[in-house]
Structures are given as C-alpha cells and as structure tokens.
Symmetry: C2
Subunit: 404 residues, 2 copies
Amino acid sequence: MRPASRDLMRAINQFNVLNTIRTAGSVSRTKLSEITGQSRASVTNITARLIAENLIYEKETRDSAHRGRRRVLLALNADAAYVVGIKLSAFRVSCAVTDMQADIRSSIVMPVRTSERPAGFVADLIEEGVRHCVKDARLKMDQIAGIGIGVPGFVDRKEGFCHWTPLYRKGERPLRDLVEKRLEIPTTLENDANAVTMAHQWFGDGKGVQNFVVITIEDGVGMGAVVNGQLYRGATGVGAEFGHVVVAPGGNLCRCGKRGCLEAYVSDFSILAAARKIYADLRWECPSRGELDLEDVMDAARRGQPELVRLFGRAGRLLGQGVAGLIQILNPSKIILSGQGVRAGDMMFAPMRAVVAEQCNPTLHDATEIVIHKWQDTDWARGAASLVLQALYKTPFEKIRPVI
Amino acid sequence: MRPASRDLMRAINQFNVLNTIRTAGSVSRTKLSEITGQSRASVTNITARLIAENLIYEKETRDSAHRGRRRVLLALNADAAYVVGIKLSAFRVSCAVTDMQADIRSSIVMPVRTSERPAGFVADLIEEGVRHCVKDARLKMDQIAGIGIGVPGFVDRKEGFCHWTPLYRKGERPLRDLVEKRLEIPTTLENDANAVTMAHQWFGDGKGVQNFVVITIEDGVGMGAVVNGQLYRGATGVGAEFGHVVVAPGGNLCRCGKRGCLEAYVSDFSILAAARKIYADLRWECPSRGELDLEDVMDAARRGQPELVRLFGRAGRLLGQGVAGLIQILNPSKIILSGQGVRAGDMMFAPMRAVVAEQCNPTLHDATEIVIHKWQDTDWARGAASLVLQALYKTPFEKIRPVI
C-alpha cells in the first residue's frame, strides 16, 4: 500500500499541469488553474519548475478579442526529449525516433524474418536500427531518453521478456536486458497491441476517452483496452486475447491449436492462406508475379472475384460477432480498428457493422463509436515510443536524461 | 479534475487504515503502520479519531508467543452503523438490515409481483419492508445510516432511476426520491448485479481481488465486473450486459427482442419456459401440484429425465461459450457464479467447464478460478446494503448519522 504523502501529492499535481498543457496544445496559467482545480500559486510554482527544466516554454500571443492585448501561453517543448520505438513483426523490424509529442523525426523498416532466430540476433538488429535512425534524425545517442519495444505475444513487462512469441527464440537473458546492454539506454518491452493502445490514449483517437478498445488486425488479431483511464492488464498481466475468442465452435484450425478462433478467419495470415487455396483452384488473373500476397488478394476481391468477396464477408461477420460480444461485456465508448488489415475496408467492415447492429442491445450499440483508423506503417513503432513518453510525462524530472 | 490536496490525502490515508482493520479483523497499530506504509504518528492520529467516533475500539489480548504479554488490537465496531438493503425481483421484494460488517440483523421477503405497477406502489412496499425489518432488529429508524436498492435493468445511479426495468412502471419522480421522501434516509439505487458484485468485493469471495467478475443467474442473467479494484461501469454507466451476448446467432428469441442471447437459454425464466413445453408433451411424474416450477424441473432432471438433462446441458455449454469469451477478453483472476440458478449445479456447470477448457488459451484458462457461490436468499439484499456500507467506509465522518 502506498501512503498518500506530500511527494505523491506534488507528483499528481505536476502531472496534471504537464498533461493539461499537452492536451490543450497551448494554454494560459489562469486556464491551467481552472482546468486542474489548483490554486494560482500552485500553478505558478509548478510551471516555473517545468520551464527551468526546459519541458515547457512561454509563448506570447496577441489576443484579438481584447484589442491585441499581450497574452502569455504555455506550450510543450517538443524537443525536451527524444525516444525510440521498435516494433517486431513477422517479416520486418520497424524503428522510429519521436520527440516529446510523439511526432516522428526519422524511421526505418528492416525487412528481416526473425522467427526461430535467437533473442541476441534480434537485439543486434535493434541496435543497428536505433543507431541508424538516431543519426538520420541528426541526434546523438545520449539524447535518447528511452527505448520502447512492441512485440506480439505474452509479454512480462516487469521482467522484460516474452513468455511466448512467434518471432524469436527465448534466450537465457531477457530481450530488454540484451538491448539495454548494447545501447545503454533504459528500455521497456510491451505487447504490441498494448503499445498501440497507449499511443491512441496519449496521442490519438483515444485522447481523453476513459473506456476504449483497440483491435489490431495484421498477421494476428490483437487487442488493448483502456478501462477507467488505465491500460487493462487483467489477472496475468497479459490482458486480453481477443484474437482467440472462439466465434465458430469446431471451425477452422487456428495456429494456437484451438478451433474456430477469430484470428483463424480475420487475420492477414488466415485470409492469405484461404485465398491461396482458392487461387490454386481458380487461377484468376493476377498482375503480380511470384506468390500471391495480401495486396493481390484485396485487389482481386475489390474487382469482384466472388470467392474472395465471400471470404472477406465471412471474416467481417465473424469479426462482428466478436465485436458485439465485446460491446456487451465491456460497453466501451469507442472501438478503434487498426493495423494493416483495415485496408480491406468495407469488404470486411460493412458485414461486420451489420452483425454488430443485429447482436447488440440498441442502448449499448448506440453508446459505442466504431472508428476505422487510417493505418500508417509507422504506427506500430510510434506506439512503442509512446510507452516511454507516457512514463516521461508521469515523472519527468526523474527520468529525462540531460539533453546536450 | 480534482487537485491533490491535504484533505484528499487525509481521506485516502484514513480510508486505508479503516479498510485494513476491516480486512484484518483485528490488528495492532504497529502492523497497521507496516501494512499502510504510514508513519506510526499518522496511524496514532487517525485511529484516535476513529475511536472517538466509535467506529473502532481497542481490545486487549494476551500474546501467547511472548509470555502472555498484553497487546492492544484495534477492531471494527460492527454496531457503529446500520444500513438497509432492498432487492426487487420479478416475484418478490427482499429487505435486510445489516451492521457495519454486512452481517444480517433481520430480513424479510415479501412475495409480491410488482411488474406493471407504478414506482409509487414499489416505494410503498419498500417503506413497509424497511419499517418491519428495522423494528425486528430492535433498532430505531434514526439509527439507519442509509438504504441501498438493487434492481435489474439499466440504472442511472446518479439520478436514482431506471432507464428500463421489467419490474415497475417509471413514474414522474425517480424511485430513489420516492423512498427518500417516505423514510427520510439517504437512498442509493443500483443495478442488482453491480450491488452483488460490490458485496463480493467488500465482504465476500472478491475481497482483495483486483480483477473479478460476478455472473448472476436468476430470472435474467446479470454481470458485474471489478477492474483494477474498481466497479466497472463502462461508457453508459450501465456496465456489462453479459446476459445478452449472442451465443447462438439466429437461435431462441430472447425477451429483449434479439435472437440467441445467453439469457434465452440459461436464465431461470428460459429454462422454465422450455421445460413447460416439454412437460406438455411428455407429462413425466411430477410430485408438486399446480404449475411446474423451477424446483420441479431441477428435481426431474436430477432423476434423469433425458429431455431436461439435455436442456441443462445445452444451457451449460452455451454459458461456457459466453464465459470463455469473457475470459479471453477480460482475463479476470476469478469468475463468481451466483444467483438462484446455480442450484442446477453440475447438470449445468460440468458442461460449462468442459466448453470453457476447450475454448480458452491454456494460460488464460489456468489464471482464472471459477467459483460457484453457494446461494442464499438474503444475498441480494446484503449486496444492496453493501452499496451503502462501502460509501460509509470511504467517508465515515461525513456520512454516518448519529447513532443514539
């Protein structure tokens, strides 16, 4: 149990001030005092400290509503700190440097297949990626306050390793420690869907939303949930495994060994596997050479290839069944669909929406906004960077390394 | 936003002390200081205040491990306050008086069917029940610190009324206000499954558990969830509607108008409706006279009536499907099954457990304990009383009415 002390009180009030400036963009001291409920004196003290530490700065504007009177607003110094985000995927390692506002300063994607390779190999790749990106952003390594790594699988965040991941062989030392040793920068390891969820909470569609869910559709189907304003980790620290909710009992065999999981119908992997079988029989005209990829499949479906249209339709309906259950159980105000797989668009999401409407209580249905997030390749890495950024906002003076 | 102030700090520390005494049963000041992390001086101050207010008392014991040395322990004064819990059901109104430890001092069940009656009629019944129970417990009305009412349906707790309930007609004034006016005692209205969940969190199987779910099986199927130590209310304030998760798309028509809801297979109401149809055809030997009730159905199933065994088996498997989804999505450390319907026992829960094991990831499955709570008729009313009690623990000095 943590006693409520003056230090804790100060940390909470300071976080509230810094966070309000971040959310507002720029804001006056009077307004800060109004929003945070703190006295003018308290706001003056805290902001003086934040300015001294170079985390925020004063900017003057002319107030057009008051005959051009001078006004002093406080804004975040985006260059107060830089962090690196890494995302491990089945066929690539992505890396991005961001500033304090999660804006990307440089990024790189390394198309490497890491599965079956040892953790040390992955740590070497990460080291290369980080050094390249930092140089590309015209920064020095000692300007990087922290590294966040997002990886699919069951992550033990505290110990910095994966209980299970399809992407590399677990070694004797946790991946986090291997990266920390190579780069001498504090590093955090987290489930990739959780990382993207935090990015949405801090810098995206989830800003200011107390209860929302992010579903990521890619090689697998992931989920992260913010509940009462906090990332939800459940009993095991793993959180949700939405991709393995059984929506078709006795149905398709999933990579996890069960039958009828959502992931066995909706993930890029399963769509592609089913499409390749169909292609082997039907051989529709396909412009790309070599093995069929997901873009080819989506193209052919958009041009109306009936078997493929059915494939996306079934995926959408089963996804709708899962999402409806989610709404009934969690009643979130927002569900954000994200990941490469959202490029299937209405082929998948129109049938999904129809099933959600059919299977939800009208009250709960109307209370939940479903957002299809326009996916960018840097989103995963930005999510991983957010892991570090949100820790910086919470205790900025302890964690930020000196910026030279 | 609420600024962290000295008052808030004091309230948190005081709550932690009182709550630690409640959880421990009896505890020394030294141990209190250890558990709460507060200084000895802070613990001494807070406990002095709690003793002066008669909320706790000192009891002396002899410590056998230290040659019978005198030790002073602090314990909760169960008689520091009394509250009343009310539960509205389809065919009865239950009422119970409890002390500060949620022990029942008196209770009554009034077998009245309230559906289609106006809210004023229900308030009259509640008034009768409260006056009767309080007298029965040899208390006076002004010794009652508060009344909690649990009701199935979509409850707006803040405004004290139901958006929708099957149990009475919404009047011009909220039910809570009608009761408060009649009895002049602060009253709280809450969804009944949420109330039972709070009772488990404060006084039952959920004590000290950060993430757990309560599923109530009775006339309907309800659910309450504690997430990160807090009752989860979702986006609409309603929280979960587990009973209306669709587990059999296109299946049985539910009272809510949708098809294939869990409630349409698992609730007492749906089991009874299906059993009556079977009975009309098969006419097995039934000892009770008059219309078949749930006890008759359970008896006949236990004696092996095959159609009924199949009925409970199907209900159990579909419940298992819902519970498996819940585990995949919420990863709670405990699921507590409660309500009258749990008397079906293994006829329903053995097939449920089989499906849960089949449809869950092993890691998540093993992390979730499924508890079948031995149901008592006073559990609902005790749950409603807990609504008031937990508020008392949080701000005891503001809320407790003088005990004469």
